[in-house]
Amino acid sequence: MKRQKKSEIDRLSDLPDHLLLHIMQFMIAKHCVQTCVLSKRWKNLWKCLTNIKLFDPYNGVIFDEFVSQFLSCRDNSVPLHNISYKNNVRRNYEIPPKTTNILVEIMEYAASHNVQQLEIKAKTDHIRNLELPPSIFNCDSLTSLTLFLRGVSKSTTKMFPKSLNLPALKTLTLVQFTFFTSSDNGYAEPFSTCNMLNKLVIFACKLQDDAQGLCISNSKLSNLAIGTMNRRSNIHKVILCTPKLKSLTIIGIPPIFPAPSTCSLTNLLEELKFDCMYGSTMGEDILISWLHLIAKVNIMTLSYKILKLMVNILKNNSSMRAQLPSFVKLKSLKVEAYPWKCDDRIREMVSYLLQNSPPPATFDIVTVVKCEATVMKYALAFVLSNGFERVIFEDDCQQVVNVLCNDYLYVNELDTLLSTCSFLFNSNDNYNIVYVMRQVNMVAQNLARASLF
């Protein structure tokens, strides 16, 4: 056993509590509590954490009991900044009915402790009648909220509250919710009271049957991502009153609603992204409206799939071709494609789309060399569209494997690439992913090589 230099031992043990806590803040909660046995000084240190990561990749029931204990033992006088809960239970389990549900417990604890950022990603099929506590939707301190309450059945959603009182909210991410219809105008307008809202992500959400559409009116909103997984979504119309909107992303299948009608959308919108990696149809009227919107932006990113879809529709429809706008404002165009897709073919399709337009200043084809998760995305799309039920994925990119195993929803600056992967991967309990070392991943290497010839 090596003896450490005395000076080094002294240096670290001299660290004040707040620095030790700082390191602990990056650990998951269970390990933080375990530090209590290090020494007397550490016994209650974990109770002063302000950022809490409640995450356990393996145990469902045991973990929920841990969370409950953690919250009740925590030092209530210490402010709470950040709670993140991820339950990665991959198999449904039977649990004895509880009087309170852990998700409700976390939300109420967060709300009553003035939390700033709350993130909950959990599977909720096993929870009967989950009712979200109103306290979390009436919280002055909340600046960031992520609710990803996933049901395996793709059509299960939770009701999003009719009214929100979140005056400080800047970032909101919602997955699988249904929005109430406002009585005034027949539209669903769930977020209009959030005056500070800056980034919004809505995925796989629905409206009530009587709604005319979804209306988003927020004066500070600059980033919006919206999309769905299948054509069963009933969001057929979107109205935007978002004068500061800079970036709009469509995620999932090609849009099933026409380009949003707007009050003042077109003034600042700079960027349009179509992160659509599966789905093989798009309404012609809908396509035309989006083409007109593309003509108004400077930066566009297209997935290979939707580029191909757009070009096919245009090729088969001469009256649409006649209406194809000139994309004079387009300065930068990026296409996300399979690494083995022929670049020339992509360029051909892009030329077709831009036949009435000057060439953009920058044009990029993003492949796996730059973007390992894109491959996984296409693999998942392939698997899903071919209806394979049991699949084992082998990946030599540790980061992608970690993300999918740990069931993250990656919404870092609206990078929806990994989030789409995660969502798709977790939609089927019989998908598994295994990390293989690059040297061992000969199957992929050989296939890649074979495809070049």
Partner: protein
């Protein structure tokens, strides 16, 4: 071994002297990211060699490397992974202490995360050694505590 000063004539370089007497040059914009250094510059002027008693020639080049990348705005997850790949746990600890001493926030945050990641799978005894913690519990006290907090020790592999 002093590092090359930047070739740009308009950016000033600052001289840093480590605890073991070696001199390194960094750009003024990198120095700004190390608040301790910046405070010393503000007090002593930028022509003086700034003494850093608690940072040594083994770790300072690595820190300079990090902030050199940071100036060009290019710190990606890949860069960070590469940066710590060949460092053992003790080397990361030393960098962490240096980043704290220099009040270099970005590097400090990143290293905190890295240390947390490294310690996640380690035993209690390892973590004690790592932080230089003396176990002042009696065996009875420790086992009583473990029992009280059994809800956090359940389901893990104990290796001690």
């Amino acid at each position: 071994m002093a590092q090359e000063a930047s070739s740009s004539t308009s950016s000033k370089t600052i001289s840093l002297k480590t605890g073991d007497g070696e001199i390194f040059e960094i750009e003024a914009s990198a120095a700004k990211q190390m608040k301790t250094v910046q405070r010393l510059i503000d007090d002593l002027g930028d022509d003086i060699t700034i003494p850093l008693h608690n940072v040594f020639s083994k770790e300072l080049p690595k820190i300079i490397e990090y902030y050199k990348k940071d100036i060009t705005g290019e710190i990606t997850k890949d860069f960070e992974a590469e940066f710590v790949k060949d460092l053992n746990d003790d080397e990361v600890k030393v960098l962490f202490l240096a980043a704290n001493y220099l009040d270099a926030n970005k590097l400090f945050e990143f290293l905190s995360q890295n240390i947390a990641d490294r310690l996640e799978s380690k035993s209690v005894e390892y973590v004690r050694k790592y932080f230089g913690v003396e176990n002042d519990f009696t065996p009875e006290e420790e086992s009583k505590l473990r029992e009280e907090r059994a809800w956090s020790f359940r389901g893990i592999k104990e290796d001690e």
